[in-house]
């Protein structure tokens, strides 16, 4: 059968009310209030200060969560294949590109252009970490969380080794806010590995499910955040990982295609 069992070796998280995994567990359990009014700016230690100032928002969010997940797993980021997923990529760069092309196309910044590729975040990540393993950048629009998680679990089973998955989106800027309703950044990351009964960490079992709806977040703040950033669709999965009892979470992975995820914290 096709069920995929993986061990979660490390978790990273960054977004409104969710500044790192340890600080977020109580919020995700409903034991602490969620103040969505501000988002701390991510400041991943991986990037030198000059790069941190210049880097696109998506790079900062993705790297922040990814660094935390790798550190929690006790693994060197440069060793891990990387699956990065984002519904939209960096909307501020899309806005810059399209606004400049509409008015002064010969003034387009070459740096902004190469930062406009959807794999910019994972590209910077592999350069900063010295990673020569496989890396990829996916989008499945509002199904990106499920599609990226599946791809990471598949890669872990293919290589029988740990894989980093990071899912992130940024705030919409300029006219892009008409079609895309993101108004904050959000990122989470997991290091998933093939199961080893002796090793610590929560377990996930992924099975395909045809036609069922995805699990709705329990908390009102989580439902609000999901509307403000597509990657926050992961909140029911993250809440189950923060919990204390086994739960099943249905994660949308495509039209009519849902991952039935058994979460053993």
């Amino acid at each position: 059968m096709s069920a995929l069992a993986v061990r979660v070796a490390g978790i990273g998280l960054w977004g409104p009310a969710l500044a790192g995994w340890p600080a977020s567990v109580a919020v995700l359990r409903g034991e602490a209030p969620a103040d969505l009014s501000t988002t701390q700016k991510p400041s991943p230690p991986l990037l030198p200060p000059a790069e941190r100032r210049r880097a696109p928002e998506t790079v900062l969010f993705a790297a922040q969560a990814a660094v935390e997940a790798c550190a929690a797993a006790g693994l060197s980021p440069g060793e891990l294949p990387a699956v990065f997923g984002s519904a939209q990529g960096d909307i501020a760069i899309t806005d810059y590109m399209c606004a400049t092309l509409a008015t002064a196309p010969f003034e387009l910044s070459p740096t902004k252009f190469h930062n406009s590729v959807h794999n910019a975040a994972v590209g910077y990540w592999t350069i900063a970490t010295g990673c020569r393993a496989a890396s990829t950048a996916l989008s499945a629009w509002t199904d990106t969380v499920g599609a990226s998680l599946l791809e990471a679990a598949i890669q872990a089973h293919d290589t029988q080794a740990p894989v980093l998955v990071a899912v992130y989106d940024s705030a919409a800027v300029g006219p892009m806010a008409d079609p895309i309703h993101h108004d904050c950044g959000f990122a989470f990351a997991l290091v998933v590995d093939v199961d080893d009964p002796a090793a610590p960490g929560p377990r996930l079992v992924l099975e395909p499910l045809d036609g069922a709806g995805a699990t709705e977040p329990d908390a009102a703040w989580a439902r609000e955040l999901r509307e403000r950033n597509s990657s926050a669709i992961a909140l029911p999965l993250l809440a189950a990982l923060a919990g204390t009892t086994e739960r099943r979470v249905r994660v949308a992975a495509g039209p009519g295609f849902v991952l039935d995820v058994t979460v053993r914290p």
Binding site: I127, A134, S135, I154, H157, P179, G254, F257
Partner: protein
């Protein structure tokens, strides 16, 4: 090193690019050395260069059921699906295995960004006009979402957007899904269309050639940008014994620079080595290599030295971007199909527009077309961000 894996059957394939609409048309253009490149008549303001523009995209609206997603990229996707009987073959595949057992994994670099650019050129009081409010016109996933809707699949679906390696990496992702039991078959491929973003973006990087691109020529001056759509069906080998094979794949990262290749081609070497290991082959088994060969000074110098170091003189290698232009996120599938044409029709395309090969090129470089019968073909695809993919294809009788 990865373990050897079972080859998959490529039971149908198609391509539409500037050099031809459908496999027969492209094969004929390759044989006749007839380029699809022409002076740029596409960009919103004039830019002196050559492009590989597909004729008739404007006249091919998407099906009424997907009208909300109508844009140049999805029009080219639809035009591409409609060639070589591919749409019927894909729908039959979905009927045979069931909608939930067929994956759709497609690659693109810029997807429908042309629609977003148009929205910015036609702002009304600083906001998008109503016809641009559909969110699926403004996400990289617009391509796979459109094709998935057309085919009615309910299995794994994703858009891979790793710049110019995108539609090569889809073969790897789909092969894993099939081998690990999450799909019985997959529709793979990629589509990229001409847009201001890439024309003026590569222009800003000073990587656009004023004349038609000349891969591996000593006097090459950069890329000619093209557009293309291509698709293939992957199934387990026993489902189509006479079909050509996906024998192996390799993926790697350069960890070097966002827009320049690693100077020693380290990432490329890793991807090629992985593909050979997964296919259970050594370099001397490779008869033909379709090179990434973009005609930028840096790519071709690094790639030529890499090929000269890794492969025997008997291996034939060429870049076909003189016919198609660099189709960016679609380059992987276009050049996969050219490898399949070489394997199934028994010929090696040369390197169009290469007159005076760079001295760094090894004896492998095929400048003229050659009448041969390659059995094993390798396709290289390298993208911004240091994203590398290598694919190995085999004649049905060779795997």
């Amino acid at each position: 090193m990865p373990q050897r894996q079972s080859p998959l059957a490529i039971s149908a394939y198609t391509v539409t690019c500037a050099a031809g609409r459908g496999v027969d048309a492209l094969a004929a253009a390759l044989a006749a050395r007839r380029s699809g490149l022409a002076p740029n008549d596409f960009s919103s303001v004039p830019l002196a260069c050559h492009v590989g523009r597909v004729a008739g995209v404007e006249d091919t609206p998407v099906p009424a059921a997907q009208a909300a997603w109508d844009c140049r990229n999805n029009r080219l996707a639809w035009l591409g699906l409609s060639q070589d009987g591919f749409l019927d073959a894909a729908l039959a595949l979905v009927a045979r295995y069931g909608a939930s057992r067929v994956a759709v994994v497609l690659g693109t670099s810029t997807a429908s960004i042309g629609a977003t650019e148009e929205a910015y050129r036609t702002l009304e009081d600083g906001r998008f006009a109503a016809r641009f409010h559909e969110p699926l016109l403004h996400t990289p996933h617009s391509l796979a979402a459109f094709v998935q809707a057309v085919l009615g699949t309910r299995g794994p679906v994703a858009t891979v957007a790793t710049a110019c390696s995108s539609s090569a990496k889809v073969f790897a992702q789909a092969e894993r899904l099939i081998r690990l039991g999450w799909a019985d078959a997959a529709v793979v491929g990629g589509v990229d269309t001409l847009c201001d973003s890439v024309l003026f973006g590569f222009n800003a990087l000073q990587l656009v050639s004023p004349d038609p691109c000349r891969p591996f020529d000593a006097a090459r001056r950069g890329i000619s940008i093209g557009e293309a759509a291509g698709f293939a069906l992957l199934e387990r080998g026993d489902a189509a014994p006479g079909a050509p094979r996906l024998a192996g794949w390799g993926e790697s990262s350069d960890a070097h620079h966002m827009s320049s290749p690693h100077p020693e081609g380290l990432g490329a070497r890793l991807a090629i080595a992985d593909a050979l290991a997964r296919a259970g082959l050594t370099a001397d088994a490779v008869d033909y290599i379709n090179l990434h060969g973009t005609a930028t000074p840096a790519n071709d110098a690094v790639e030529a030295a890499t090929i000269a170091a890794l492969f025997p003189a008997t291996t034939r290698a060429s870049s076909t971007k003189g016919w198609t232009g660099h189709t960016l996120g679609a380059a992987g599938i276009v050049e996969a199909v050219i490898c399949l044409i070489a394997l199934e029709r028994g010929f090696v395309p040369g390197t169009l527009n290469c007159v005076d090969p760079d001295p760094v090129c090894g004896p492998q470089l095929a400048v003229a077309n050659e009448a041969r019968a390659p059995r094993i073909a390798l396709s290289n695809s390298f993208g911004f961000g240091g994203s590398n993919a290598a694919l190995l294809f085999a004649h049905a009788g060779a795997a």
